[in-house]
Amino acid sequence: MTQPYNKPLPQRSPENEPFWAGLENREFRIPKCNDCGHWNWVPYPACRNCLSTDQDWALTDGKGKIFSYTVVHRGPGGFRDDVPYVLAMVEFPVGARTPIVLGTMVDVDPDAVHTGMPVKVVYEDIEGEGVTIWHFAPDA
């Protein structure tokens, strides 16, 4: 029997259900305001820019570039045996104030990671937990 997944997982709140369902379908969605066009990450019920609640879970192409990164050598809790792992802040080039999304990198040589590196969202279905989470991988 494989070890159960023992790292924190998102609670999958009802108001964010389109996002989590999107991950299951290999779609990375970010709320976009229908009134002013502002992209809002992390999601809130209203647009940061104009306070409109008319937002759509807009589909992105799942591609971005690294804003910053770190190679973690001492991990907390369930991440302790994953070290070294790469944690990245990724810019999604969609608007004036570019949203930045945090995630771990997979399929990557830690020594090759650099600021500005093109990356894409990849998906991991967590068996038995009913949730899919995202990571980033190099976008060759």
């Binding site: 997982l9 609670q11 910053s68 973690v72 050598h73 792992y85 944690l87 104030r97 949203p99």
Partner: protein, 394 residues
């Protein structure tokens, strides 16, 4: 618009012993700190009529329990937040006549902030268990924690401004030197370190090495802010609150945008500009500072956002040694969070040290003729919440 001048002063400060493990509970350590600050001021617990909690549980109901503990009679002010802002808001509230003696307090025992605590919990847990569920955008899902967040900040800063790691690594060296002059510090007795020692210490989260990271220990402290009328009868000379400010933006390590570090500044800039304008002093008037220094990049960004140097030049300012005793801006003369103590929610300790400097109580690490000091508290997302207080003696 100026801050109400010489209407409120810090009249009592106290740090409990700071150590890896202390006997007691958060409550008893905070209580010991409050008793110490009352002794320092020459006041009684029944003189306190306002509370500013820095406890991990700073809820209103928890504060009510402290009202009961400290006399069981109605008080007239309550607040929570980070220390620089709490000092400022206490002074403003006192000047408005709403309260007379505000106690800012914190204590922590056995609650590690870093991964060691979580590791112990993981080892104690049963082998088979469900993954813990956390809020949707929680950074813990991605294996982030404080050192990793500041590592991300450090890397961004280094890349954005071509800042050499070695410049930033000068800060732990300065902090350790200060700690060697502070008998109460955790690390002083281990002696001075070099930049090479920092580089040779184990990698925690690149580019941060162990000696770049805050300590993680137990301890408590308390600060008493009182009206001018109360202050004139206190045991020690008043340290006046000349001005201050608070800044708050972004959620708790969730939302960031690509203008994270920009020339217009963020919450620390807002708080600083309000504080200096209100106090009617300039950056050049500052003789000593205490700034929240959880990692070297925090210090580089602190002095940039506070206006002691330009954005992107903080690493050079550190390298040039200005923050060291004898430099033009002696900072964290107790050894700060890297070499004195990080007791969990430590921003009040920067206030305590600046107050001691302005009173001339710092012995081997005393800044000569220190008359005006500045305190910066920050945290809750890198430079998310900011609190600045400008302090001065007669």
């Amino acid at each position: 618009m100026s801050f109400p001048q010489r209407k409120a002063a810090i009249v009592g400060v106290y740090n409990t012993k700071q150590a890896k493990m202390l006997e007691g509970t958060p409550w008893t350590l905070a209580l010991e700190a409050i008793q110490g600050a009352l002794d320092d001021a020459g006041l009684k617990h029944s003189d306190i009529d306002g509370l500013s909690s820095m406890m991990y549980d700073a809820s209103l109901t928890a504060q009510q329990m402290w009202v009961e503990q400290l006399g069981g009679r109605p008080m007239t002010y309550t607040s929570h937040g980070i220390a620089g802002a709490l000092v400022t808001k206490a002074a403003a509230t006192i000047a408005a006549g709403l309260t007379n003696v505000v106690c800012i307090y914190f204590g922590n025992a056995g609650m590690r902030a870093g991964p060691s605590k979580q590791r112990a919990a993981a080892e104690a847990a049963p082998v088979i268990r469900k993954a813990p569920r956390v809020p949707d955008w929680d950074f813990n899902i991605h294996g982030a924690y404080m050192s990793a967040w500041y590592a991300l900040w450090t890397r961004r800063y280094m890349d954005q401004f071509n800042a050499p790691y070695e410049n930033l690594a000068e800060y732990p060296v300065i902090a350790r030197y200060h700690a060697t002059l502070n008998p109460a510090s955790l690390m002083g007795e281990r002696g001075e370190i070099t930049v090479q020692d920092v580089i040779d210490s184990p990698m925690i989260s690149s580019p941060l090495h162990r000696l770049d990271c805050s300590l993680d220990n137990d301890g408590g402290y308390a600060i008493l802010v009182a009206s001018a009328e109360v202050a004139k009868n206190c045991r020690k000379d008043p340290v006046w609150v000349l001005g201050g400010g608070e800044g708050i933006y972004t959620d708790f390590y969730m939302s960031f945008t690509d203008d994270w570090i920009n020339d217009n500044g963020q919450s620390v800039r807002r708080a600083s500009d309000i504080a200096f304008a209100g106090a009617g002093v300039t950056r050049d008037d500052i003789d000593v500072t205490g700034m929240y220094d959880c990692f070297p990049v925090t210090m580089a960004r602190n002095i940039e956002e506070m206006g002691f140097c330009k954005v992107g030049e903080g690493h050079e300012y550190i390298k040039e040694g200005h923050l060291k005793l004898g430099g033009k801006l002696p900072t964290n003369t107790d050894g700060g969070l890297l070499s004195h103590s990080h007791c969990g929610n430590p921003s009040g300790m920067h206030v305590v040290e600046v107050v001691k400097q302005l009173r001339g109580e710092c012995d081997a690490r005393q800044v000569k003729d220190a008359k005006i000091g500045a305190v910066l508290s920050q945290g809750y997302a890198v430079h998310g919440v900011a609190g600045v207080a400008i302090l001065g003696k007669d």
